[in-house]
Symmetry: C7
């Protein structure tokens, strides 16, 4: 089962932020501030969206930073995704 | 009796989320968080909508995820439907 | 006396929802949830509306579902009408 | 002294709703719900309004229904007028 | 010192509404409801305003009715002016 | 160090409103109502701003009246400036 | 690891405002009003953004003033950045 986004929508999956505190304890993601980094899981076709021509600029596998408060959370087969418009993606994170 | 949507409207019918808890009890849909998956029942013709050309990208029978809070609930012959604009549909769910 | 709507306006008349409860008592429309089905009474000419070209897609006599909270109630010779924009009509109801 | 509206503005004058109650008492307009029927007193030239071409579709003397809450009340030589945009006029009332 | 408005702005000066009550007492403007009539003092050049072509339709000396709540009050050399956009002017008042 | 505004932005510096009360006491600007007159310090290049072509109509040294509540206060080397869009400038004040 | 902004986004890094009070105590940035000066760290490609053609007018290394309340704070490898749209940049600060 997979999500195939429409228009300029992009399906994201949040990156786990496993961090070690100074005392060496590993905090799971939930105990921290929600990270804004995510991986691109699926990309809509772009094209005419609300009467404007949109060219998609992200690709599956990209690491991205997206706008806090943007997007809709979706759960599919026990995995949580965020569906955002491409314009809610601020930047790619490159190695 | 059937609904024939105008413009870029799409008629959806929510998919029942019958789930079995770990103890084996089946919870009916009402006792859970409202699922966002729906099946496409009818699709408007698209074309010029609010001065913008809209091409319909979903078809009857598609399973879709739609935006929480979007759409209007409509009851016809004891069946509940949701009428949304195509732009409120986030993604198709494909097998 | 009749209403002749301007632009993309449509004059609707709510359909009475006379229903029989299980005990056989007929509840008049007022005692129930306001139905959203209506009949089209008059249709504006469409054309240039707010700088956008609108083609009317409903006709007098059509049964339609319209958006809750949309439109203006108007009383003319003791009959109540609702005047909506065509974009507030979600779907036609066909037999 | 007369009002000459600009752009797509229309000057209206509310029609008095003198009605006879069942007991035969005539209630002046003030004691009732504000009627929405009005007569067109003056019509702007239309043309380019906010970058959109507007063609005026009402004429002096037309009886019209206008949107509740729309328009600005103006008093000139003890007569009250309402100045609305043409798009706030819902329909003409024809005999 | 004079105000030279930009774009589609118009400089107005409120007309004093000196009125005589029935008992013959003259109430100065302040003691009454603020009148909406004003005289046009200066008119901007119009032209391209926010990407739209605006043609000015009022001239210095015109008496106009303007929208309540519109405009910015400006005091220059002890005289109070109101600077409005032309679209906030509802109508000219002609003799 | 100087501010070089982008797009249709204009850098303003408020004009001090030193006034003598009737008793001869000079009130510094802070003790009075904030004046809306300012001098133009720097002017952006205009051109394509949010997809609209903007031609700059003010020049360095102009005295202008600007919209209350508009603009962003900026402090640079102990001098306070206001950065506004040209459309927030209501009028030039000419001698 | 670096941020590569999309569309008309610009990655900024706030300039530290280390200041010496009159008594000679150096206040770290946190104890003061948040400065609005920032350095440009990365610049999006511009081009078609929401259907409008955007030409980027800032370059990496520019010192800029940006709009209070604009932008999204992003933390990457313990450094804090602000991602803004170019239209939220008011002016360049030039030496």
């Amino acid at each position: 089962m997979k999500l195939s986004p429409l228009g300029d929508r992009v399906v994201l999956k949040q990156l786990e932020a496993e961090e070690t505190t100074k005392s060496g304890i590993v905090l799971p993601g939930n105990a921290q501030e929600k990270p804004q980094q995510a991986e691109v899981i699926a990309v809509g076709p772009g094209g005419n969206v609300d009467g404007k021509e949109v060219v998609m600029q992200v690709a599956v596998g990209d690491k991205v930073i997206y706008s806090k408060y943007a997007g809709t959370e979706v759960k599919l087969e026990d995995t949580e995704y965020i569906v955002v418009r491409q314009s809610d993606i601020l930047a790619k994170v490159e190695a």
